[in-house]
């Protein structure tokens, strides 16, 4: 399931729904991404805004989820991504996968995050006393995502 929203979410409540299992789930892997205090001054007042491309975001996230379900035997999968104004410590993204097997849960969760990082159309702009700065994409994110490429992926 895909959710793109401005509102915060409750990781515990989300995981609890995975828990209401059918007896087939042996492992749940969850990743939760938070806004770091990029000013590094500990004041926690650093702010950012996450812009996105409504419509394409949902389309790309759904495609990424479908790809994960194609590659691993998943009982459930969830991607929640927020947009809008966020402060240091705020939740940005939650990815969770449930499978009979621990390895499938770990790998698919990792895959979803890596692909989301390079394919979901979100852009961060950081607000600082010195002005606003668009965050640059990281080569390391491309390298992470490339690990999951298969010959069939083409571009």
């Amino acid at each position: 399931m895909i959710r793109v929203q401005a509102e915060d979410f409750d990781p515990g409540a989300e995981i609890a729904r995975f828990n209401a299992g059918n007896g087939k789930v042996g492992g749940i892997c969850m990743f939760l991404g938070l806004v770091r205090d990029f000013m590094g001054d500990g004041t926690g007042v650093a702010g950012m805004t996450l812009e996105h491309y409504p419509g394409m975001t949902e389309k790309q996230l759904a495609a990424i989820e479908a790809e994960a379900r194609r590659r691993w035997p998943l009982e459930d999968a969830l991607i929640i991504h927020r947009y809008g104004r966020l402060q240091a410590g705020d939740r940005i993204v939650l990815v969770a996968t449930a499978s009979a097997h621990r390895e499938a849960a770990f790998e698919s969760c990792h895959f979803l995050m890596d692909w989301l990082k390079t394919r979901a159309p979100f852009w961060k702009i950081e607000h600082t006393a010195g002005g606003d700065h668009w965050v640059a994409a990281k080569d390391s994110d491309d390298a992470q995502a490339a690990r999951w490429e298969t010959p069939a992926d083409g571009a």
């Binding site: 991404g33 996450l50 491309y53 394409m56 389309k59 979901a120 159309p121 979100f122 965050v135 571009a155």
Partner: protein
């Protein structure tokens, strides 16, 4: 044809969205970009380095050689930084 700009491309373009009717010879994304660059100094600057511009047609990633037609939604944006 609907054209969308996001993040710093929107800032440079000076607008987030526009409806355009390119001349008849514009058949692919590269042609559209070349034509858009002639329309304003901001757009010329936004498209100055296509290595840092990503393109989606109808919400799917495409390359510069992707064909475009009148009803398409074409979006230009920098490499994504979500998650």
């Amino acid at each position: 044809m609907k054209v969308l700009y996001f993040a710093w491309l929107r800032a440079k373009a000076g607008l987030g969205e526009e409806d355009v009717t390119p001349p008849a010879g514009v058949a692919d994304v590269a042609g559209l970009v070349a034509w858009l660059k002639t329309r304003s100094a901001g757009l010329a600057e936004a498209f100055a380095d296509m290595a840092v511009v990503r393109v989606a047609v109808n919400q799917d990633y495409v390359g510069l050689d992707h064909p475009i037609t009148a009803g398409d939604e074409v979006a230009f944006f920098p490499p994504v930084t979500g998650g």
